[in-house]
C-alpha cells in the first residue's frame, strides 16, 4: 500500500467565490480565467480529485504498451498490464523525482530512471538500482518504493479515466446518465471505436475553462465565429441552429452535451460526401442498437465536455483534453476517433477531415483560438476582471416531462450547460470533501 499517492491537504477555501460566480443570477467574472490563487485551488480541488481522461484503450493494445500524459499538471504513465488491466503511475522516480519515461508512447518491459538507475517493471514495482548492494546495507525495502499509482482507473466504452482521489465517486456515478449520450459516438457500431495514430499538441494562452465551456454547450458561437470556415469548406454558411425543430442541452455533474437531431450537421463540414454517406449507411444499424433517437445524434450538430477538461465533437470526430498549464495557458492534446469497423478509406478521410477543420491548422479552430485567448487576457485588467459576464440564456428551459435522462433543457442555443459547468466548478472549489458537493441533478438517471 506504500505506493499509493498521498492525498492532498486541501488548502483553505477561497472566500470570494460568490463575487466571481453566481449561476442563479447567470453571471461569472473574468477573474476566474486569470487568477493564480483560483488556479492553484483548481489543481487541488478539481484536477487532483475528479476523474480525468488519460487514454483510449486502442492506444494500449499489448502488454507493455504505454502512453504518457498529464492529469492536471501532474505527469503520468498509462500502461497495459500482463493481466489486461491498465495502471496509471506518476511519471516521477520515488528517489529524487526525476521523470522516468521521456517518450510519449511505445512498448516497453519497464521504466528506468536516468539519474540513479532505479528500474521499474510495467506494474510499477522497483526491481533494481545501479549499485544495488549499497541499498541493502541501508536495509532499504524495495517493495515500498515502486512508482506511485493513482487511486483508481476505470474505463467506459474504450475511454480510460483515472483519479488521484480514493474518496471520489465511482466513474459510473461520476458520469451518470451522460453515458447514454456518449454511446451515440463511442458505441454506435459493434466493436466500438479506436483512435487513429498520433496526437497533435498545441499551446493556447487561454484558461482551460473557456475552452471546456465552449464544448460543454456553446453552439451559439459557431454560426458567427466559424462563418469563414463553413464558407471555405461548404461554400455557404453553417446550419442555422435556431432553425432546428428539436435540439437539447443536457448536463450532469458539470458535464454537458448539446445536440440537434439532424444526423449529419457536424460531419458535413468536413466537406467529404463519402463521410456523409457512411453516416447514412450505418444509421439503420445504430437505430437498432441505440434506438431512433440516438441514431439522429451520431454526427449531428453537437458537442460535449466531460468535466473538467475532456471534450469531443461527434461527426468531426475530434477528441481532446484541455491540459491546464497555469491560469492563462493550456496545452491542447487532440486525437481522432473512428469506428473500428469503418472501412480504411473512411478512417483516412476522418484523419484528414479533423485536421482540416479542428486542429491547429484547422479552418474552424483558427477562429476559436483568438477568442479564447482574449476572453482570458482581458481579465489581466483588475477592473475588467471584476465585471459581470452574462451567462443567462435559457434560464427557464428545464424540461420536467421528458423521457431523456440527465438534466435536460430545451434547445441548444442555451447557456444551461455552461451554468451547470461553472456551478460544478464552484461546488468543487467550495467543498473540502466529496460529501460536501451538493447534488444539483434533478433529471432522470436512466432513459425511459
Amino acid at each position: 500500500m506504500s505506493n499509493i499517492i498521498k492525498t492532498l491537504d486541501v488548502t483553505e477555501r477561497l472566500d470570494n467565490l460568490k463575487q466571481v460566480c453566481d449561476l442563479d443570477e447567470g453571471r461569472i467574472a473574468g477573474e476566474i480565467f486569470y487568477s493564480q490563487s483560483i488556479y492553484e485551488q483548481e489543481l487541488e480541488k478539481i484536477f487532483a480529485r475528479c476523474w480525468l481522461f488519460v487514454a483510449h484503450e486502442s492506444q494500449l493494445v499489448k502488454t507493455g504498451d504505454y502512453i504518457t500524459t498529464t492529469m492536471g499538471e501532474d505527469e503520468v504513465i498509462v500502461v497495459r498490464q500482463k493481466d489486461g488491466s491498465i495502471k496509471v503511475f506518476l511519471n516521477a522516480c520515488p528517489h529524487r523525482g526525476n521523470k522516468v519515461c521521456f517518450s510519449e508512447s511505445g512498448t516497453t518491459r519497464g521504466f528506468i530512471c536516468n539519474y540513479h538507475g532505479w528500474s521499474f517493471d510495467t506494474a510499477g514495482n522497483l526491481v533494481g538500482q545501479h549499485e544495488s548492494g549499497i541499498y541493502e546495507a541501508s536495509e532499504f525495502d524495495k517493495s515500498k518504493w515502486g512508482l506511485r499509482e493513482v487511486a483508481k482507473v476505470d474505463t467506459y466504452k474504450g475511454l480510460v479515466f483515472a483519479t488521484f482521489d480514493p474518496e471520489s465517486p465511482s466513474l459510473q456515478e461520476y458520469l451518470g446518465p451522460m453515458t447514454w449520450y456518449l454511446d451515440a459516438l463511442f458505441d454506435n457500431q459493434e466493436g466500438g471505436t479506436e483512435f487513429v495514430g498520433g496526437c497533435i499538441r498545441s499551446t493556447y494562452e487561454c484558461n482551460w475553462k473557456i475552452a471546456a465551456e465552449n464544448f460543454v454547450g456553446d453552439i451559439l458561437h459557431a454560426g458567427w465565429t466559424h462563418d469563414s470556415a463553413a464558407r471555405a469548406m461548404l461554400g455557404g454558411a453553417v446550419a442555422k441552429v435556431s432553425d432546428f425543430e428539436e435540439s437539447y442541452s443536457v448536463n450532469w455533474n458539470g458535464h454537458g452535451y448539446e445536440f440537434a437531431l439532424d444526423t449529419v450537421g457536424n460531419v458535413a463540414v468536413l466537406g467529404e460526401s463519402k463521410l456523409n454517406r457512411y453516416i447514412h449507411t450505418i444509421k439503420p444499424s445504430v437505430a437498432e442498437r441505440l434506438g431512433d433517437f440516438r441514431s439522429n445524434m451520431i454526427a449531428s450538430v453537437s458537442s460535449c465536455t466531460i468535466f473538467p477538461n475532456f471534450s469531443f465533437l461527434p461527426g468531426q470526430n475530434t477528441v481532446r483534453v484541455w491540459q491546464p498549464r497555469g491560469p492563462n495557458k493550456i496545452e491542447l492534446f487532440t486525437w481522432v476517433v473512428v469506428n473500428k469497423s469503418a472501412p480504411d478509406d473512411i478512417k483516412e478521410m476522418w484523419r484528414k477531415g479533423a485536421m482540416m477543420t479542428f486542429s491547429p491548422t484547422g479552418v474552424f479552430e483558427m477562429d476559436d483560438g483568438e477568442n479564447w485567448e482574449y476572453c482570458t487576457k482581458t481579465a489581466k485588467g483588475r477592473v475588467t476582471a471584476k465585471q459581470d459576464l452574462y451567462v443567462g440564456l435559457g434560464m427557464d428551459t428545464f424540461m420536467e416531462d421528458t423521457h431523456l435522462p440527465g438534466n435536460v433543457y430545451q434547445g441548444q442555443l442555451n447557456e444551461a450547460n455552461s451554468r451547470a459547468f461553472y456551478q460544478y466548478w464552484y461546488d468543487l472549489l467550495s467543498a473540502h470533501t466529496w460529501s460536501e458537493v451538493p447534488n444539483r441533478n434533478k433529471g432522470k438517471v436512466e432513459a425511459e
Partner: protein, 179 residues
C-alpha cells in the same frame, strides 16, 4: 527521419539559381498574402504534408522515425485542401485574420539535386516563419523542408513538400499561414 533515397547529382548553377529564386518568390508571395499567385506555383498533383512529430524512444520508432504517414498531421493536403484554406483567408468573416497577421518567411540552407523522375528536382531547405498579430503576439516556427519541384510548360511547380518541425508540441495556437 527523412533520408535521401540515392546519391543524387547536384543541379547546375543556373538551375540552382532558378530554384532559389522560386523559393524566395514563394516566401514573398506568402508574406504579401498573394495566395492565389502562390497557388499558381503549386502543381495540381501536390502532396503538401506536415506530419505531427512524436517524441519516441530510438528503439520504438514509427514508420518514419518520429512521424508516420498514417498518423495525425498539421497538413496532409491536396490542391483542393490548399484551395479551401485560401478560401477561408479570403472570407470577410475570417475574424481572426483582421487585423492582418504580419508574416516573414525565411528560406535557408538550400540544396538542389537532379531527381530520378524526369524534369524534377529534389530541393532541401530550412525555413523560419515569423508571425506577429495584434500589438505584441509573436510566433516563430522553424524546420526543414524536403521539396520536389517539377519543370512544366508554365515554369517550375511545387509537386511535393514534406515539412518537419522539431517540436512535438506546437508552441502556438495555430498555423494561419503556409510553411
Amino acid at each position: 527521419m527523412f533520408t535521401q533515397s540515392a546519391a543524387l547529382e547536384s543541379v547546375s548553377q543556373d538551375v540552382f539559381f532558378e530554384v532559389a529564386a522560386f523559393l524566395n518568390k514563394e516566401a514573398r508571395l506568402l508574406d504579401e498574402e498573394r495566395f492565389e499567385e502562390w497557388l499558381g506555383l503549386i502543381h495540381e498533383d501536390i502532396h503538401y504534408w506536415m506530419p505531427g512529430i512524436e517524441n519516441r524512444r530510438r528503439e520504438n520508432p514509427l514508420k518514419q522515425g518520429f512521424y508516420d504517414k498514417d498518423h495525425m498531421a498539421y497538413f496532409d493536403d491536396s490542391l483542393r485542401d490548399l484551395q479551401r484554406r485560401v478560401a477561408r483567408f479570403r472570407q470577410p468573416s475570417a475574424w481572426a485574420e483582421n487585423p492582418a497577421t504580419r508574416n516573414v518567411h525565411q528560406v535557408n540552407n538550400l540544396e538542389a539535386f537532379i531527381a530520378q523522375e524526369p524534369n524534377t528536382y529534389e530541393v532541401y531547405s530550412t525555413f523560419t516563419s515569423i508571425r506577429s498579430r495584434g500589438l505584441d503576439e509573436e510566433y516563430v516556427i522553424y524546420g526543414r523542408r524536403y521539396d520536389t519541384l517539377i519543370r512544366t510548360e508554365s515554369g517550375l511547380k511545387l509537386l511535393k513538400r514534406l515539412i518537419l518541425i522539431p517540436n512535438a508540441t506546437l508552441s502556438c495556437k495555430n498555423i494561419n499561414t503556409f510553411l
